[in-house]
Amino acid sequence: MNIPANLRYTNDHEWARDEGDGSYTVGITDFAQESLGGIVYVELAAEGTRLKAGDRFGTVESTKSVSELYAPISGVIAARNTDLDGAPDACNTDPYGSAWMVRISAESSGEFEALMDASAYATHTAG
């Protein structure tokens, strides 16, 4: 399973990447896409939506199941990946790349630093 070292992770299997400009890109992990199976639909909150860490910002559906997406950090959605509307299967093939979901302009950097690093997430998913 792929767990890039440069990302931070949540208990709910989202990843976040520091873009260095106060914004953070968010998606779901390789573990999440593998567990869900073929992803057929991604619904994301609109740009401008204000989120608290832990708020729902979207839904990912595989053929069988529905999973909610939760914001890793507080902030405002600065961008959402509209490519996923037409090609949700990218979540399965490229979860850390072209299947990024939203970019959040964060209120502070503290919440990002508090997320799990790659080794902690590897332990979390091994359980």
Partner: protein, 371 residues
């Protein structure tokens, strides 16, 4: 809470990386590692899938009066069956609601093999015991059978390698005895995927070796184990009812569109036939329809169906069809809104998604039984 039951193929599922979940009191694989629902679904439509359906219940009705006794309880006319024939039935309450849907196989004139849903075995058997005039003819033999479904275009080629015999090449709804390593198998040309194929009943102690032999012999035929996830999407693409979704104690087979298996005017009728005739004469309160979503999204069971903003019905099963690659659903709506092409909408998490009534089966299967 009672412990979950395990089928004789439990260890085989673990060896294959089956993701085990609770279903109808059983611990069953929903999908397999390295495969997954869509891969397993497509393999069944294009090659051959193996399904553990050992959780299903088997009831044997045995004796000189077996046919008459059983025919009084089930909806189809089983007096028409010859030895080795089978048919689909609804088991009905006195008021016409469905106790279960089931398959009846005539092994011979005095031995009738009834296969019922896992979740309903105890309820069905109690119903039969309560309403049969000769309850002593009914035997719950559910623990005595493993069951493996072999489904898809390559099913015949695969079974011929492992257990050749008379069932291969027959039309649908037949049952024959085959053998495997000295044990007798009951091999039926039935299934719930829409594909041609077999349902193989075996002694539980050989289920694992039969399953393993089928997987090993079928590598070049594209055989794959298939979990409950794809079993559900395969049957839903065909519009086959699933008890607890399209059929339940309050819903009749007419509403679920399986009227072709209901013969209320057969000689002597059956438990529930009078109520069903009255229901038909009075007009059905609801009708099962196929829906295709025109907007993006995935309809799921219990989503509300709307017409001009008002709630008019409910989705009973829904998914993103792996074959048609679009969102599909079965739903109950008033008969006045059941015509093909009727525009409705489905409430998915508070958003009304546009939908249209379409015919089902939603897809054409990849294989057909000989006529």
């Amino acid at each position: 809470m009672t412990a979950l039951q395990r089928t004789p193929l439990y260890d085989a599922h673990l060896r294959l990386g089956g993701q085990m979940v609770a279903f109808a009191g059983w611990e069953m694989p929903v999908q397999y590692a390295g495969k997954g629902l869509v891969v397993e679904h497509e393999a069944t439509r294009t090659a051959v899938g193996l399904f553990d359906v050992s959780h299903m219940g088997e009831i044997l009705v045995q004796g000189a009066d077996a046919m008459v006794e059983l025919n009084r309880l089930v909806s189809n006319d089983i007096s028409k069956l010859e030895d080795g024939d089978a048919c689909y039935n609804v088991l009905c309450h006195e008021d016409g609601g469905a106790v279960d849907d089931l398959y009846v196989y005539r092994l011979d004139s005095e031995r009738w093999f009834v296969v019922v849903n896992a979740s309903n075995v105890d309820k069905d058997f109690a119903h039969m015991q309560r309403l049969a005039r000769k309850p002593e003819l009914f035997h719950n033999r559910s623990r005595d059978f493993g069951q493996i479904a072999v489904q898809g275009p390559n099913a015949s080629a695969l079974l011929a390698r492992v257990s050749p015999g008379d069932a291969i090449g027959l039309p649908r709804n037949k049952i024959r005895v085959h053998s495997f390593r000295g044990a007798n198998l009951l091999v039926a040309t039935t299934g719930y995927t829409g594909e041609a194929g077999f349902e193989v009943y075996c002694p539980p102690e050989i289920a694992d070796s039969l399953w393993t032999a089928l997987l090993e012999a079928g590598a070049d035929l594209g055989v794959t184990p298939v979990g409950l996830g794809a079993r559900d999407t395969l049957r839903l693409e065909m519009g086959f009812p699933l008890y607890g979704h399209e059929l339940d104690d309050q819903t009749s087979g007419y509403e679920a569109r399986v009227g072709w298996a209901i013969k209320p005017k057969k000689l002597g009728g059956f438990v529930g036939s009078d109520a069903l005739l009255r229901l038909q004469a009075a007009g059905l309160p609801k009708k099962l329809v196929g829906l295709e979503l025109l907007d993006r999204g995935v309809p799921r069971a219990d989503c509300q169906v709307l017409h001009n903003g008002a709630v008019v019905g409910k989705v009973t099963s829904g998914t993103h069809s792996p074959t048609a690659k679009k969102p599909i659903a079965l739903a109950y709506v008033p008969p006045g809104l059941s015509a093909l092409g009727t525009e409705l909408s489905v409430d998915i998490r508070g958003q009304a998604k546009r939908a249209v009534v379409v015919a089902f089966p939603f897809v054409t299967p990849g294989s057909f039984f000989p006529q």
